[in-house]
């Protein structure tokens, strides 16, 4: 599952290290492993995905074994273990959203972007996937885009097209 796609050692920016230091200081002495999930979010926000080399760097920073980072990164659905598009459209595919058209919306996104779920468009800008309940069931269909995880609610095909156009122009 963890394919090594990035061989070079990774260096973190000083801003990222400062952020990691701040996060680690929240926990009692000796419990710094608690910082793992938040730090992985920060690393992914900076680098777009979590390569094995980046995870090794996190292990080194937290003074834990690399496997302790891999097992966590592969357990949680938000961490990307392979490169993604610049914008990852994550569409809720769970029951309540499907009652109001989420499945049709995913078909539409697949058609518009021209790539299957999990694939990246040729220009590297977009990928998309269905995700489980995003806790916005009353405002469905919904999708989110990281790393800020902005929510887009009450969507239809037209609104999604507009959104994709806006992101293309950015």
């Amino acid at each position: 599952m963890l394919k090594v796609e990035e061989q070079q050692p990774v260096t973190f920016s000083s801003a990222l290290i400062a952020k990691c230091d701040e996060i680690s200081s929240r926990y009692p002495e000796g419990k710094q492993k608690s910082a793992l999930l938040p730090i992985l979010h920060e690393v992914q926000a900076e680098r777009g995905w979590l390569s094995a080399a980046a995870m090794d760097k996190v292990a080194e920073y937290l003074k834990i074994e690399p496997i302790e980072v891999y097992e966590v990164a592969s357990f949680y659905s938000m961490y990307f273990l392979k490169p993604q598009g610049k914008y990852v459209l994550e569409v809720c595919r769970t029951g309540p959203c499907c009652l109001v058209g989420a499945e049709k919306l995913m078909d539409h996104i697949e058609g518009t972007l021209g790539v299957k779920e999990g694939e990246v468009t040729a220009d590297g800008l977009f990928s998309w996937r269905g995700v489980e309940c995003l806790a916005a069931c009353g405002f469905g269909p919904v999708l989110q885009i990281g790393p800020e995880y902005t929510f887009y609610e009450n969507l239809d095909a037209q609104k999604v097209d507009t959104l994709i156009e806006e992101l293309r122009k950015k």
Binding site: L37, H41, T94, L134, A135
Partner: protein
């Protein structure tokens, strides 16, 4: 209009800021608790209120607090469970987005009651915007002297941190949440020991839902006795209900417990009826984990009396004719919806979210998803229906945490109440791909008390 305790000021511009929140009476509970009550007196008020955990289990919050071990020299923790992931439930996200200080204030009062010096709000990772909102609110509260060292000159110190999750439904289970907060995979722990004895970092810990903690604020302001007067029987106070599906006005509503279900669905004060002039076919009353009910049993008990939005009334009739309050995620299905498809969708969800620790759940959820997939897509056999019931029974009660039960109940209840529709999918494999079974008899009055026997 019904009484509102949590969402009273939701439409006040700027209520997400400390200044406006205080103008509307915010942080009175902190002043009252820290300056005039002992920690034990705060626990006593919450016990008196009859408040029951709003995350789904419905266990009395005050009692949970009183179980917390207090050994000398050992830190204690309060952890707020904001890992809201139950399909159909979105009330906590709403509360944190619009009135973040209601949660912060509740956290301060609850931490004081439990003697916690460091507390965490564990928010699901997808809610990054809410995490930023809470962090900003915490900074405001700290600048105003409600957090940090020597709060309001009382000598009480408290630090409050927001912890993001990584995207895993299972972390809503309290021991999985604690594992995750310790930087590990979210595998639930075997209980006992309960978190009250050995929780975060092996220390005594209380884990409470966002809404439960926010409800502590009006309980302290008005007193537990006042809170207990709202509601019906052992279902005291108000409850946030997340309404979704085919409704005219889906959204988050604060109700007084005891409201008739029919009024909740059809009155203009709440959901305003079924969207597009259609008829109600079925509901899931408390989030995807609770049994699905046909329209007739949603609105009325088996004996014909109206069903109410309360812990007791929703579960009246047991699993034969009732459901559960759960986390208050109310999903309405109109006449065009397919129960088989929705059951498959939920089964896929639980398969995806099973942590993989216990084999009945890890394997069973996958089998249920596969069998339901073939039923929904016209490849099912009649024997598949009983196979599903069999698998669901073998998961239920045989796992470390309740995710197994939560995966089994929607499947078992769908077959219990909608067996005709499942059989139709087998008998009409092609037709069922083009059209739906429709409302059938599911909204018709129940002629006599239904007796369901299961072997």
């Amino acid at each position: 209009m019904a009484r509102k305790l949590l969402l009273e000021h939701i439409n006040v511009p700027g209520i997400n800021t400390l200044d406006v929140y205080r103008q509307k009476g915010g942080y009175r509970a902190v002043e009252k608790a820290l300056k005039t009550l002992t920690p034990d007196e705060v626990v006593e008020e919450v016990k008196k209120s009859g408040l029951r955990g709003r995350g789904g289990a419905g266990f009395p919050t005050g009692m949970k607090w009183s179980f917390l071990a207090k050994p000398e020299g050992v830190a204690r923790y309060l952890v707020c469970n904001a890992d809201e992931s139950e399909p159909g439930t979105f009330k906590d996200r709403y509360l944190m987005t619009y009135i973040p200080h209601a949660l912060i204030e509740g956290m301060i009062v609850a931490s004081y009651a439990l003697g916690a010096k460091t507390s965490f709000i564990y928010v699901r990772g997808e809610m990054m915007p809410q995490i930023r909102i809470l962090e900003r609110a915490i900074a405001e509260a700290k600048a105003a002297g409600f957090l940090g060292k020597n709060i309001l000159g009382t000598g009480y110190d408290l630090e409050l941190f927001v912890q993001p999750g990584g995207g895993a439904y299972i972390c809503g289970e309290e021991t999985a949440l604690l594992e995750s907060l310790e930087g590990k995979r979210g595998n639930p722990r075997i209980k006992p020991p309960f978190p009250a004895i050995a929780g975060l970092y092996g220390c005594p810990t209380v884990v409470n839902n966002v809404e439960s903690i926010a409800a502590v604020v009006p309980i302290i302001n008005d007193g537990g006795d006042e809170y207990m007067k709202i509601g019906i029987g052992r279902s005291t106070g108000t409850k946030l209900i997340s309404a979704s599906g085919n409704l005219v006005k889906p959204g988050v509503y604060e109700i007084e417990l005891g409201l008739p279900v029919e009024e909740f669905i059809y009155s203009d004060e709440y959901c305003g009826g079924i969207a597009n002039g259609k008829r109600l076919k079925a509901t899931v009353a408390g989030g995807s984990s609770v049994p699905v009910l046909p329209a007739n049993l949603t609105l009325k008990l088996a004996n014909g009396e109206p069903r109410l939005m309360s812990y007791e009334s929703l579960s009246e009739g047991g699993f034969a004719t009732g459901t559960m309050m759960g986390s208050g995620g109310f999903i309405a299905f109109d006449e065009d919806q397919c129960i088989v498809r929705n059951t498959w969708n939920f089964a896929r969800f639980y398969h995806h979210e099973s942590c993989g620790q216990c084999s009945p759940c890890r394997e069973g959820t996958g089998w249920m998803e596969k069998v339901l997939h073939r039923l929904e897509h016209g490849h099912g056999k009649m024997s598949d229906i009983d196979l599903l019931v069999d698998v669901s029974r073998k998961i239920e009660g045989n796992t470390i945490c309740p995710l197994g039960d939560a995966a089994a109940w929607p499947v078992a209840s769908a077959i219990r109440h909608f067996r005709d529709e499942f059989e139709w999918h087998v008998k009409e494999p092609i037709k069922s791909q083009e059209t739906n079974y429709g409302i059938a008899k599911y909204a018709e009055p129940i002629a006599k008390p239904e007796v369901t026997t299961e072997n």
